[in-house]
Symmetry: D2
Subunit: 261 residues, 4 copies
């Protein structure tokens, strides 16, 4: 079970279905976050061999909409998982951004909040390649070494991935990068609001979602690559990178302002 807009649901082709033989139950989530009652309602026909059986709750922290689950929200979800014999997975592609926003250590909102398995991402925060899978219940990792290889995820030169993680996790580099991008994203959100545009989601990570008038989108995309997230409403997604600068944000907002006329 995942949010309808979850990366595993809409941006991984059908890799999850192909590799796991599973069904993704996609639950509408306006702000990108699943709620415990939503999940509970979808747990159906347990013990009925005809019906897909609920086994995993998967969330993204921060979510694909740049919002961040609070520790209470995470605990509510993990409680549902426990109660129904499900696993609780966190896609932490932007986990550093979430940590900075929450003001909490990784441990506090993963292991301590009941997460079973975490994908700890790095490429959104400065890495060239790689992701670390963290099992908080050792027994779940028993055969992971083989699963990783069978899933074609054992790089032939793993040391070049480890080296990047070592750098990222040393002297709080991860934190400096994430603090920087979070700050830029807030600046971008504030500026867009200031010039009269509607920001559609809370800015809690490195992304800003906003409604842009249709006529400015194409001219803007010539200079700035970004996605239109929802075609019907012209909701766009703007992302700040660890190597973006305050100057770039301001220049972008000026350009938007200019196009708005």
């Amino acid at each position: 079970m995942c949010a309808e807009g979850a990366h595993i649901n809409v941006d991984e082709s059908t890799a999850p279905e192909k590799f796991l033989g599973c069904k993704l139950v996609a639950i509408p989530a306006a702000d990108g976050k699943l709620t415990a009652p939503q999940v509970k309602e979808k747990i159906q026909r347990i013990g009925d061999q005809h019906h897909p059986q609920a086994k995993v709750i998967s969330i993204s922290q921060a979510s694909e909409y740049g919002t961040v689950y609070t520790i209470d929200e995470l605990r509510a979800l993990s409680a549902v998982a426990r109660e129904h014999n499900m696993y609780f997975h966190m896609d932490g592609s932007r986990i550093a951004n979430a940590s900075v926003t929450l003001g909490k250590s990784f441990r506090e909102f993963t292991r301590d909040a009941g997460v079973d398995v975490l994908s700890f991402g790095g490429t959104k925060n400065g890495l060239m390649f790689g992701e670390a899978i963290v099992f908080f219940r050792t027994e779940l990792a028993a055969n992971f070494m083989y699963t990783r290889k069978q899933g074609m995820q054992l790089a032939s030169k793993m040391r070049f991935i480890s080296a990047q993680f070592e750098a990222l996790l040393t002297n709080d580099l991860w934190k400096r990068n994430a603090t920087h991008t979070n700050k830029l994203a807030r600046l971008l959100g504030d500026e867009l609001t200031r010039i009269g545009l509607k920001v559609t989601q809370k800015v809690e990570a490195n992304g800003v979602f906003a409604i842009f008038p249709a006529e400015i989108i194409e001219p803007l995309q010539k200079e700035y690559p970004f996605y239109v997230w929802v075609e019907k409403t012209n909701e766009v997604r703007l992302m700040c990178s660890w190597d973006s600068t305050e100057g770039e944000v301001k220049k972008f907002v000026n350009k938007v302002s200019e196009l708005l006329g």
Copy 2:
């Protein structure tokens, strides 16, 4: 793409995902039938390698709600399939019932309506085992012999399946059976309405859907095996079989009537 309540979505475990490596996009359909505009709206991000690509429209005729697609509805769906380079699959578990209801030959509402592949069912209409897969575009069947075997669907004694189909398709046995069950289902629907119960779907095949007061469900199930289709509303599904009789239907309705007090 299929209706949310489609058999392949809710009653085949995760066999489709496992065997095909596909995602089922489940579309809410109150009467069990997909519409062309619904399908069209879900065809998204074509050519984007990150996103699952729309390839198949799969419907059930008659639907899981006992309703039957008209030829116009089928043509509208097949037009969407053609336009978007998709395949059009029909699950014909109750195809005989649909044929009788439509008053049309199989050909008229399958091949001639643009269906590409049909599963022609028999076990709901008198067979012990078996199903025939019919390809209306020969090129799609090129490797099917191997796909069937790889999918563990080549029975070791196929002749005993063929023999049943021969009987079913001889002297309109299929039609007599389906005419009989359709008639019984209409009788059942009418009788339930007569005694004051709400029948929730058009009765166009061998099934009747109705709201039963919660307190009569369990006592009834002791004598008559049937499913509660929607727990929240106490909508139940009642099916007539080729070997059910008018007497049995009346006896059942009397029992319901008696329990209603």
Copy 3:
């Protein structure tokens, strides 16, 4: 791990690889039977994530060459399985024939010989459809109900399969059938030897393997359907069925004799 000529290796398309994601390690076995030392030698690089890990020994009893494992041979194999944390699977398509040949109950050469999972076949011994999977270690069956459905092996009318097994297992019908076919096979083997042909395998079940002169194969196949098992040597496979008769065997041998001139 299985014999090179095992049904799962050569006659199931690539269903095992597709459904299980496994590698079949095919071990040459002149008489169709694996030996414990052969299996042992192939258990390699355990704990090395790059290499497929040995997990299952799968044999057929009787084998595809019509030979039968003795209880000692089975125990030797199950000891290897235990020692190396592998599962021991028996394909019992012709288990009734093996039981009659060994003069032992099913239990004595399955559960008591260390078999973990058995496919108990029926279609070679009088059934139209169906096979029963028997788990001798309950914990292995924990999720089998779902695996069966996901593997598309839950027939919609299971009662018609159960009914056949009930008949087969009542009043020793299985034994009468198997005793009859075993006897016919021995008769066929003896007769072929008598008229000067080379029978290549011990006749311990319902099959006879023999070398036929190339020139008689095609004329014979016009009247009697049978397979050439090894093209290079003209080794053919002749099978007796539960409904074959002594008269048919004799008539066949006469025909062979006549063709030999």
Copy 4:
């Protein structure tokens, strides 16, 4: 079909079976190279739905035994592929070494020799990550973009892979690296022969295979990481890297010499 010692057969866990649902037919090859007659003999039961159908010949150039296919050998294999409607795949993890040994351009021994699909490797020749899949018949690549994503091989920052390939393919860097390692491997082979050890394979790429006395293996491995390739015969595999030096090779040989006493 591949050589028994092929990387895809022995060092990719069961990823090929899991992802492709295929059977790898492993053919013994003493020098690591498949021959056309060997392949031909294994093409069996074509058109028989029960039997896995031969579809791909996969070779490694250079082979896992450090030997290199000649252009004539490649043409003989591709002719078999053409004749039997099979694909011809080349695993080019060490393609640069093969090119230097053959004194031929990549094109001459891939496309021009009838190869259909090539995995062009880089990590054995200086790259940190990445591999390029090259289709010589465009139609085979029609859906590859989706297959790559479904197979979890689309890195999120592809530009960092492309950048490495650009460097490798500029100013013949690939050739300098491979020339260097080939030269070192020949030196290593010659030196081991000189001090009385048996080199078991022709040295045509960056690897040397030799029989080492059992008692020197463990002490050597303390300083030099290498694999024992065949346990029974103490055949070891020694690999030269693009950043190995002549001095290191000589130091290694001195150490071996010293241990031999």
